[in-house]
Amino acid sequence: MLAYSLRRVPSALLVLLVASMLVFAVLRLAPGDPAVVLAGPDPTPQAVEAVRTQLGLDDSLASQYFHWLGGLLTGDLGDSYILGAPIATLIGSGLGATLELTLAALVLAILIGGTLGLALGAGRRRTVRTGAGAVTGLAFAVPPYVSGVLLVLLFSIAWPILPAAGRVALLDDPEIAAQYLLMPALCLALPAAAVIARFLAASLRRVQDEDFVQTGIAKGISARRLLFRHVLPNALPPVITALGIQIGQLLGGAIVVEAIFAWPGIGQLLLNAVLGRDYLLVQDLLLLAVAVSVILQTVTDLAHAAIDPRLRPEAR
């Protein structure tokens, strides 16, 4: 399995290299200049020029690119133009917050989506299936920027039991942190849960039609065992693929949710960095996104192999 992951390294590196070029080019096409932002309000042209020199923005693009790449290879992400701080620190703290949020959302999405999906795809009673279908449809159709606002209205203002914005690190004070985490995580999780529910339900229905399920029934095993030991495992692969994509989506969706709940994560960082033309920070963040998705893909594949003996290397 390790060998299998290793075999993907060259292709992953290639993807990252190409992505680094794209990412470098992309923001430089945008009008605007970090030096102006950094020089503060009402700056003189000399001040702007001085800042440009100080940031190294007057170097040639190629040299800027290679300087950046060189830094990356030696583990130096550089300093943020606008915030001044080392990018590693910025991403470190933001990533912690975002990971906390996305992981919580992921857990919620799997729990909610899994339950809905099971009800939708394998519910015995029609009412259960219809109900789950309606909930799924709604979770699916209400975008996070609407559900977030509604949640806040409900649970912070109308019936104030949860904080409306901000974050306490989970490690610092779990009890309090969980209360901060709940709403943003839920808001982020809902659409993902709906997707998972749909994929799971569709997959369950498909698998239930497969021959080995008949075998199971003919063997006389219970419906419960049939569902959880036979149908569910076989229904998982497409759900895992969807889940892999959804994790990427959660990270992206974090931009909106973090904005609504003032969650100090990567999404906020990225949004502000783009607005401030904080080139290095944006480059690093976008490249991180690509890296995450590359990793996710590998993890997804490994998860497939973990479930399905046919995909394990020794089976080839």
């Binding site: 605007g32 503060g40 606002v149 912070s156 039991i161 309090i176 906020q268």
Partner: protein, 492 residues
């Protein structure tokens, strides 16, 4: 335990000032430590809490009061400060005159910007001696004390780290306990603050909340006590909630304007610019965008400014017919004009919408064009905005010269409108040099007339920075640049 309950914080409960409590502040964008030397809105929460300035203006009389400087003397071209003894930086190092010298010479550097740089540059010579600082001025300046109202005196030894935000060290009532860029910072009580038994608060937590709605939500849920500069229209949600109030900062130093790039046709025609001034419904902007905070005005000054002239401030009124007429005269009917604004600022966006609508009523094919902050700032600085632009300016509250020398839209030497006029330069310099109130009055009259006639900047409303606060917060104060002063603040 409830996070909400804990966040709302304990008050003194005594109906009077008492020590303790953490004040929670939300602001929409992160502080920029590198720019603390000039006026930059996001820094309003740290400039007077972490740092101090040499003097502090009295808001009524505009007379300097002691800050880090105990006393001062302006004799001819020499200004001498005597500094307060026994002041230490958060690092533990004693504050002395060399820190002041450093702060002023630091402003001479190109990459350090401040709207009052022109004053610093006009200081020909500085020398210090223990707690005395002597400044030699190269020319008479009516606004020299404005510099010392705005200029924070940071620890000179950690100046490089200050720019990066990694060590923010001042003499103020609070020290920076932690700063996570993009997320916010925690300030804690400076036990060695030079004002005895101040501050009352144990600390201040500043959180960055980009969405105004989220700020309000957290305020209503009791999680936040003070929100900075929430657009009044955004704040309507809580204006009828009796727990909160919106405090308009009395310097009224937040003016909104629409300006013309005069190198763009048909804005090169004075009549078109005047037509614009006539065509805009200032009252509606004041009511619908600024929640009635401030006054409509055709002039850039705060009502407290010596240059303010109530009659002239009412020069332009909403007169769509007049506007149409002038536009027709100038042959600019149906002209296509972009109204550019900084998309990141809610009030500006909304003003742009009203301006766009008013101008289209007046016969101009106007389009509102949002630009992102970095883009807008860049083009503003480079004078490359494509037509009209809506923006805000400050500096109408102090010495009038500070506005014409330091506020970029009015800068006589180089401005965003690309408006260059020897006449303007000369009257602006006259205003700068004016030595006494009478001379200032005369010079500012000329400037006023000139501005009203030329209208390269059309002032719309003189409004104020706002602090939206819970009524539990008492003792809130701020400088003439609206730097938050929490020396006497406490939570009831």
């Amino acid at each position: 335990r409830s996070a909400l309950h804990e966040a709302s914080g304990k008050g003194t409960g005594k109906g009077g000032p008492a020590a303790g409590g953490i004040l929670r502040i939300a602001q929409s964008s992160d502080i920029q430590p590198a720019t603390v030397f000039g006026h930059n809105n996001p820094n309003m929460t740290i400039c007077r809490t972490v740092f101090n300035t040499l003097i502090e203006y009295d808001h009524k009389t505009l007379q300097p009061l002691p800050g880090l400087a105990q006393s001062w003397e302006l004799k001819g071209d020499t200004l001498t400060f005597r500094l307060r003894p026994g002041v230490t930086y958060h690092s533990g190092r004693p504050f002395d005159a060399r820190d002041v010298v450093f702060a002023i010479t630091n402003l001479h550097k190109d990459n350090v910007s401040s709207q009052l740089k022109h004053v610093a540059k006009a200081i020909a010579d500085i020398d210090s001696d223990g707690l005395d600082v002597r400044l030699k001025l190269a020319r008479p300046m009516s606004n020299v004390f404005d510099l010392f109202e705005i200029l924070v005196i940071p620890d000179r030894e950690s100046i490089a780290e200050l720019a990066k935000g990694s060590r923010i060290i001042g003499t103020g009532p609070f020290r920076v306990a932690s700063y996570s860029p993009g997320a916010g910072l925690k300030l804690r009580r400076n036990e060695k603050y030079f004002k005895p038994s101040r501050p009352y608060l144990d600390g201040v937590d500043i959180t960055i909340v980009s969405q105004s709605q989220s700020m309000l939500s957290s305020m209503r849920s009791g999680q936040t006590h003070l929100v900075l500069d929430i657009a009044p229209l955004d704040a309507v949600g809580i204006t009828n909630d009796r727990r909160f109030k919106v405090v308009a900062a009395d310097p009224y130093d937040s003016a909104y304007y629409v300006a013309s790039n005069v190198s763009v046709k048909p804005l090169d025609d004075k009549r078109v610019r005047q037509a614009i001034a006539w065509g805009i419904d200032r009252q509606r902007i004041l009511d619908q965008v600024l929640g009635g905070i401030g006054t409509t005005s055709s002039l850039p000054w705060s009502p407290t400014s010596p240059a303010y002239d109530a009659a002239k401030a009412r020069h332009y009124t909403y007169n769509p017919d007049r506007a149409k007429e002038l536009i027709r005269e100038a042959g600019a009917r149906g002209a296509r004009l972009d109204i550019v604004y900084n998309a990141g600022l809610g009030a500006n966006a909304r003003i742009a919408e009203i301006v766009q609508y008013n101008l289209s009523q007046a016969g101009i094919d106007a389009r509102a064009v949002p630009l992102q902050a970095a883009d807008f700032q860049g083009r503003l600085t480079g004078g490359k905005l494509p037509g009209l632009f809506v923006n805000g300016h400050g500096f109408g509250q102090l010495a009038p010269a500070t506005l014409v020398k330091g506020a970029f839209p009015f800068n006589a030497d180089k401005n965003a409108s690309n408006f260059v006029s020897p006449e303007y330069q000369s009257i602006a310099n006259a205003l700068w040099s004016a030595a006494d109130p009478a001379a200032t009055k005369a010079a500012s009259d000329r400037v006023n007339d000139f501005l009203l006639d030329q209208q390269f900047v059309t002032d719309l409303v003189t409004s104020a920075h706002t602090f939206t606060v819970t009524k539990r917060l008492r003792g809130l104060a701020y400088s003439m640049f609206d730097y938050l002063n929490l020396d006497d603040a406490y939570l009831d």
